[in-house]
């Protein structure tokens, strides 16, 4: 397999993986492209490489910067903007985890807290509803916390020890 084929395969598969996890395919692909590029890339080049429109490129680059995993880079003497990706994978994972937690998990937790706090009457149905949503609240809360801890401490000694122990 040659470089160009490999690169295409990578961009293609990474985009599909993104989709499967609720991330816009183009967004995943732009990030993938920046990840494997040895230098900053202009919007023009991104459009060219992924065959996408200017609007699409602009919007998804904005989203990636909002996530904190892509940065602008200004080249001296160059008018247009260049982009680079966060390449430290631990840092990347941490940012993605924190962002998804904030945007998606935390609101779900809030809802679980609310609905599990209703005054249930004596029927089995209502009692069970409260019981289950309480359990779900505890569980999701713990999982969210754990992901946060695991990503935060991934590169320190404690984390390394744990990860080793888990092997």
């Amino acid at each position: 397999m040659d470089y160009s084929t490999a690169k295409n395969k990578f961009l293609q598969t990474w985009g599909a993986l993104g989709s499967q996890w609720g991330i816009n395919k183009t967004m995943a692909q732009i990030h993938a492209l920046l990840m494997v590029s040895d230098e900053a890339i202009s919007m023009e080049d991104i459009m060219q490489e992924l065959q996408i429109s200017r609007g699409n490129a602009s919007m998804n680059l904005r989203a990636l910067m909002d996530w904190g995993i892509v940065y602008k880079e200004n080249k001296p003497g160059e008018r247009r903007e260049f982009f680079i990706a966060e390449k430290d994978l631990d840092e990347l994972a941490t940012k993605i985890a924190k962002e998804r937690s904030k945007r998606e998990i935390k609101p779900a937790l809030k809802m679980l807290k609310e609905v599990s706090s209703i005054q249930a009457n004596e029927t089995p149905a209502e009692k069970h509803f409260v019981e289950q949503t309480k359990k779900l609240y505890d569980f999701v809360g713990r999982a969210d916390e754990m992901i946060d801890k695991v990503t935060t401490y991934k590169d320190n000694w404690l984390g390394k020890l744990m990860i080793k122990l888990l092997k």
Copy 2:
């Protein structure tokens, strides 16, 4: 907030959360409905409660059973089928993790192995591509492994210790 409002809010929000993580909204909602129900539910009742068609209910129940997180239950003297959800949340998380790993992560790993194995020439671009995809391969592989271990051992003493230590 009364029971019916709370239940609706739960089903609604859980469905949205599913969507955000690449899971069919109805599939997430059927599972949610079964999770908080104190008894097995017929397809008819699921259709009724979520206001969905027979085909939709049938297909998504099939998918949930393929994931191994919903089971059929036969009531004596009853012709039609009833459904119950896996209610042990550790077990649920384990099954979801294993299934997503198998369907989505493993194929991505396979691709990363392939594309990072190309014979790169001396250009910085090709060298960097191989370097990055190799790193990605290692990282995704480790993450995949860790999720597997964490979920598998979640309810034994080792896991409990770790989780406590991570607090």
